[in-house]
C-alpha cells in the first residue's frame, strides 16, 4: 500500500494512516471490497507499532469505511458511508481559502487556478466536475 508516515508531522501517526487510507479509497487506488494489509503487515511495512495500525483501523471501521471479517481480514466496505456534507464543505472552504491566498500572493489568475484544479481532478482519476461543452 502506498502509505508513508512522518513522525514529525503535527498529526499523530494513526491519523496520518487513516487519512491516507481514506484518500486511497477516494481516488480508487483502493477498490471497494479490496483487502487491506493486516495490522502486522502494515506495521512492519511502515515500521510503526502494531497498536497504532489497530487504532487507525478501528477508527476507520467506526467511521464505516472498512470492515473486519472474522478470520478473513480487513476489507474496504462495499458501500461507503455518506459523508456529512456540512462538515465536509467547511473543510473544503478552509482549503479553498488557503489555496486562494496562495494564488493571490503568487499573482496567479483565477482562471489559472481553475485549470490547475481540473488537472488535479483528472490526475486523481475520478472526474466529478462536469466540464461545460
Amino acid at each position: 500500500m502506498q502509505i508513508m508516515v512522518n513522525p514529525s508531522s503535527e498529526l499523530p501517526i494513526y491519523r496520518q494512516v487513516m487519512r491516507q487510507i481514506i484518500e486511497a479509497i477516494a481516488c480508487e487506488r483502493l477498490k471497494l471490497e479490496e483487502k487491506l494489509p493486516s495490522h502486522r503487515e502494515l506495521s512492519e511495512q511502515l515500521v510503526i507499532a502494531p497498536l497504532t495500525v489497530k487504532k487507525a483501523y478501528d477508527e476507520l471501521e467506526a467511521l464505516g469505511y472498512i470492515e473486519t471479517q472474522r478470520g478473513r481480514g480487513t476489507f474496504v466496505r462495499s458501500k461507503l458511508p455518506k459523508i456529512n456534507r456540512n462538515n465536509h464543505s467547511d473543510q473544503i472552504e478552509q482549503a479553498a481559502r488557503s489555496l486562494m491566498s496562495l494564488a493571490y500572493l503568487g499573482g496567479v489568475e483565477f482562471s489559472e487556478v481553475v485549470k490547475i484544479l481540473r488537472e488535479v481532478d483528472r490526475e486523481l482519476g475520478k472526474p466529478q466536475v462536469k466540464e461545460k461543452a
Binding site: V5, P7, S8, S9, E10, L11, P12, I13, Y14, R40, S43, E44, V47, I48, A49, P50, L51, T52, K55
Partner: protein, 298 residues
C-alpha cells in the same frame, strides 16, 4: 493482565541529599511499548539499571513479572532482553561464539529467529567483537537480546550513534518482535521520531521525577502549545492559572504555555483570561513538546 514491569515509589540517591530518582512509579503492561524520555541526567539509565537488578533502590520496590530482580536474578533474566548504549561483551570472542554462548544459556532460544536476523544483518561471523563497527556491535547485541523471545525488552538508548538506516533496521527488528512474540518494550531515547514511531505510551522523567505519563496519541491530541505575546499578559501567573495549564516559559517576546486540551478549546480558555490579543494555539510534535516542557526561559 498483570504488568510485566512495575516501579513502585522508587527513590535513590548516589550522594546524600541529592536524589537521582524520587518516588518514581509506573508500570509496563504486556505488549505495551513505553518510551522513557528525559534530559541527560534525568535518571533514565539509573531507573533501567534498577529494573535489571544492577542497582537497588533505597526506597520503593521494583517487580519484574511479579518478582524482585535482585532476589530472583536468573528467573527474571530468562524472560528479559536488554540492550544498552555501552554494552560490554567479551571483546576477543568472535560473533559466532558469542551467539553460540547465548544459544546455550537460554533454553527458549529460537534458532529460526536467529537465522532470520543473521540473514538480514549479514554479520561477519568469524570477526572478533572489538573489530565490529558500532552498528554491527549493536546488531549483535540486539540479536542476543531477542532470540530467546523475551516477554520484555529493555533498551537503553539503543539507537544512539547509529546511522539512519541502521536505526530504522533496529526499529524494524523491534516491531517484528512485537508482532511475533507480543513482547513489551521499555526504551529510553533522545530520538523523538523513533519514539513517535513505535511507542504507545510516554513517560517523561524530569529531575528524577515522573513529569508526564500518558498515551502518546493523547499527548499529541490533547495537549497543545499556546503562544501569547508578553505584551498581552505582563504577568505569566495569569496564564498559569488558565485551567489545564501545565507550564509557562518565556521565549523572546512571547510566553509559551503547555496546556491540556485541543488548540480550539485552549484558545477559548486563554481568551477568557486575557482577551484575544494575538494568541496562537498549536498542536506540536513530540520533539517540540519535549523542548517546551524541559527547556528553560530564553
Amino acid at each position: 493482565m498483570s504488568a510485566v514491569l512495575e516501579f513502585e515509589n522508587i527513590s535513590l540517591s548516589f550522594k546524600k541529599g541529592k536524589p537521582v530518582l524520587q518516588d518514581v512509579g509506573f508500570s509496563v503492561n504486556p505488549g505495551e511499548v513505553v518510551g522513557l524520555l528525559g534530559r541527560n541526567g534525568a535518571g533514565k539509565t539509573t531507573l533501567i539499571n534498577i529494573a535489571m537488578g544492577m542497582l537497588r533502590p533505597e526506597q520503593g520496590a521494583v517487580r519484574l513479572f511479579g518478582m524482585s530482580p535482585t532476589n530472583e536474578p536468573v528467573a527474571t533474566k530468562k524472560r528479559v532482553g536488554y540492550v544498552c548504549e555501552s554494552q560490554i561483551f567479551p571483546l576477543l570472542s568472535t560473533v559466532e561464539r558469542l551467539i553460540a554462548l547465548h544459544r546455550a544459556v537460554f533454553p527458549t532460544w529460537d534458532t529460526a529467529m536467529e537465522k532470520d536476523l543473521l540473514d538480514r544483518f549479514q554479520l561477519p561471523m568469524k570477526s572478533r567483537i572489538f573489530s565490529l563497527s558500532k552498528g554491527q556491535a549493536r546488531q549483535v547485541a540486539l540479536l542476543c537480546a531477542v532470540c530467546h523471545r523475551p516477554e520484555l525488552l529493555i533498551l537503553d538508548e539503543p539507537a544512539s550513534g547509529l546511522d539512519p538506516v541502521a536505526r530504522r533496521e533496529f526499529l524494524e527488528t523491534s516491531v517484528r518482535l512485537l508482532n511475533s512474540a507480543g513482547t513489551a518494550i521499555l526504551f529510553s531515547s533522545h530520538n523523538m521520531t523513533d519514539v513517535e514511531r513505535i511507542a504507545n505510551r510516554v513517560v517523561l522523567l524530569n529531575d528524577g521525577k515522573v513529569q508526564l505519563d500518558r498515551q502518546l496519541d493523547s499527548i499529541r491530541e490533547e495537549i497543545c502549545v499556546a503562544i501569547v505575546p508578553c505584551s498581552s499578559a505582563t504577568d505569566p501567573g495569569v496564564i498559569e492559572r488558565v485551567p489545564g495549564c501545565l507550564q509557562v516559559r518565556q521565549v523572546f517576546d512571547d510566553w509559551h504555555a503547555v496546556v491540556e486540551g485541543s488548540p480550539e478549546a485552549v484558545h477559548v480558555r486563554i481568551a477568557a483570561a486575557i482577551g484575544r490579543n494575538g494568541v496562537r494555539c498549536l498542536s506540536v510534535p513530540l520533539e517540540e513538546l519535549f523542548i517546551e516542557l524541559l527547556g528553560g526561559d530564553r
